[in-house]
């Protein structure tokens, strides 16, 4: 809710006083104006329209300069946005103007996702402003505000109605930016057709719930002109940077074999109306609306997404600090819980592994024992065999010794007999 929209209500408990003389605080608006002139102004326009529909030419014509845009091709695979910033100056007022153009809009065969890059761009600008606002050390007065203040939507002059792509895109954008629809290349529509076309477009927008920008009616000085202008929406414009001599002066116009379309002739097109409304009268209101309506909506949605609320569970107003603190605690508790969980899991794993290892150890041990036993058994068997063998051997050697002895005895006996015979024989 814009705080500046609400007129100053007389507060209860504050009594109005009348002054006895001239104090001088009526110069406050002037001080404000001086300050803003020193600071310079900033304005961002987004132009959405098909390739070749005349976006760059219209910008050139509106700001009476050459923004040096080059022709884009029809064969872009996706919609892109091209932003360029310029510094303009008129008398002593400096304006930092950013013109964002769509490239390749409406050229693809499948245009279902065409609106997405535009929405993303607008959201990005809001996001960077939000980030700046939430910083601890912030410099908002120095910040280059890149939020889109006005969106000129270029409608193709078919003469029948809006295109389906136009409707879909405008519906997605009407809550994010101030949409000002314009009928481009209006020199192809005759007056009677134009009247019917405008009525058809407005009725289609209304019946589909698209909220376009309405010039403000609360300020009495401009209410009257704004009301008439609201009735001329959408503006049918013709852009041209070439000059043709008409009468005795050079005017911006388009020369045809059948006549000359003068850009600044109110009979020919609504260019002058657009310039007046967009730049001369309502530029500041557009910026304000962007900040107080569209940006606030974005901010609220974003913060609600993050879980912040204006009122706590007992419907008591809760400040951002408290919510932030609560969120932080929640987060820390969560963190702790997670940590504990992980630790537990780790411990459990370790235990498991340990038991596994123990089991393995036991198995190994038993196998070792088994092997040892086997080994001992074999050894015993072998010992037994050896003993038997030894026994055998000893008995064999005994018998052999006995046999030898017998043999030796018989031999000596025989030898004695021989000796005796020999001895006897001799004598």
């Amino acid at each position: 809710m814009a705080s500046s929209d609400v007129a100053r209500q007389p507060d209860q408990g504050v009594r109005p006083l009348s002054l006895a003389g001239h104090v001088g605080f009526d110069s406050l608006p002037d001080q404000l104006v001086n300050k803003s002139i020193c600071q310079g102004f900033c304005f961002n326009i987004l132009c959405i329209g098909e390739t070749g529909i005349g976006k760059s030419t219209l910008m050139d014509t509106l700001f009476n300069t050459n923004f040096e845009n080059f022709e884009s091709s029809h064969f872009e695979p996706q919609v892109k946005l091209r932003a360029q910033t310029y510094d303009l100056q008129e008398s002593n007022v400096r304006l930092r103007l950013t013109v964002v153009n769509t490239v390749g809009f409406g050229d693809q065969m499948n245009k279902q996702e065409s609106y997405q890059p535009v929405v993303d761009y607008i959201d990005r600008q809001f996001e960077s402003y939000l980030q700046e606002e939430l910083k601890i050390k912030r410099s908002l007065h120095n910040y280059h505000d890149s939020r889109v203040h006005a969106c000129l939507y270029f409608i193709s002059p078919s003469g029948h109605s809006l295109k389906s792509l136009d409707l879909v895109t405008m519906k997605k954008l009407d809550s994010k930016v101030n949409i000002i629809p314009v009928i481009a290349k209006a020199d192809t529509i005759s007056k009677s057709e134009l009247h019917k076309f405008k009525i058809k477009i407005m009725s289609e927008l209304v019946s589909n719930g698209v909220q376009i920008y309405q010039f403000p009616l609360d300020d009495e000085t401009v209410a009257k002109v704004n009301t008439t202008m609201n009735g001329h929406l959408p503006f049918a414009v013709v852009g041209s940077t070439e000059e043709v001599s008409v009468g005795n002066k050079m005017v911006k116009a388009r020369q045809y074999p059948w006549g000359v379309v003068q850009v600044e002739n109110e009979n020919h097109c609504d260019f002058v109306k657009l310039r007046e409304m967009l730049i001369c009268v309502n530029m500041e209101d557009l910026r304000e609306q962007t900040h107080t309506r569209h940006y606030e909506l974005y901010r609220r949605c974003k913060l609600e997404e993050m879980g912040f609320k204006d009122t706590g569970p007992e419907c008591k107003p809760v400040s951002l600090q408290q919510t932030y603190e609560a969120k932080r605690q929640e987060f820390l508790v969560e963190l702790q819980k997670r940590e504990d969980e992980m630790r537990q899991m780790f411990v459990q794993r370790v235990k498991e592994k340990e038991s596994e290892l123990k089991e393995a150890e036991r198995e190994l041990q038993s196998r070792f024992e088994q092997l040892k036993r086997l080994h001992a058994d074999e050894k015993a068997a072998l010992e037994e065999k050896k003993r038997l063998l030894d026994d055998d051997q000893s008995s064999f050697s005994k018998r052999r010794a006995a046999a030898q002895l017998l043999q030796a005895q018989s031999l000596t006996a025989n030898g004695k007999k021989d000796k005796d015979r020999k001895n006897s024989g001799f004598m």
Binding site: E71, N110, K111, S161, Q255, G259
Partner: protein
Amino acid sequence: MTTSSRYRSRAPRSEDGEEKDYVGFATLPNQVHRKSVKKGFDFTLMVAGESGLGKSTLVNSLFLTDLHKDRKLLNAEERISQTVEITKHTVDIEEKGVKLKLTIVDTPGFGDAVNNTECWRAVTGYIDQQFEHYFRDESGLNRKNIQDNRVHCCLYFIPPFGHGLRPVDIEFMKALQDKVNVVPLIAKADCLTPTEIKKLKERLREEIDKYGIKIYQFPDCDSDEDEDFKRQDKELKDSTPFAVIGSNTVVETRGQRVRGRLYPWGIVEVENPAHCDFVKLRNILIRTHMHDLKDITSDCHYENYRAQCIQTMTSKMNADKRVESPIPLLPLSTPNDEAEKLIKKKDEELKRMQQMLQKMQQQMHEQDL
């Protein structure tokens, strides 16, 4: 010069004194003329392009009638997911005894939806359908009353708001280039100054060449025509694609009542060659090349379709080698689904038997060896 007067001036006169050499077949053109007037002509014109480009208005201006009396235009929300439809209007018009049955085929919804992939399918489907119809009639037994509903020419409207061709234009023209004579037009040309028109035409011609799109080419004039005619012909070819403006209203300018559009800054006359190429288009389409368009449709596009059709059919009947000359037309005239299924089954059986025969032959051959 109209064709009839040209021929009449060349017919020999009997006062020449060469009566003995006079056979009389020089009057053949006159006979053709008489017969054709008696038979009457028919012409099918298709208009394609996004809504709001002035297609209906142009058709009304071309044929000086009001063909679309109470048509209902859809709202933007209804068009978000609209499919392409094909609508047909047939009217009988007559001029100096010559009757013309004119059919205008419109393609509402083309390029209007948010997702336009393959939006040209309905259009190519329709053209193929007409070809198929004619094919069947031509192959039928009773060919007395063949109705020629084939599309003879397709006017494709290119929006003047861009820098040249868009992807949807290229895809559509490429899909249709082999089925119908495509004549691209720059629609609503009253939003372009003469320099811009020239630049756009050059751009379009370049892009049509670059993407290899085969649009309708005017036949070259004979080399024995006079210089003036040749110059006109060349001028004509250089001003394609035509930048046209249409109008449903008659306005008063310079003391005359003409078809035009009234603006606060001037009046655009539809039939003024300095304002747009409407007159050139009308001459080409109606006064000089209408028959050529019909000829190319039947000699070129239709024959291509027919050849393709027959090829796909004979490739199915390839197994039947007993038939020496392909006569695939007979079963076409009565497209009985059940008969076709039977034929297919028989074909497969034959194929199987043939394969078995071949195997047995091979085995016998091996045994012999």
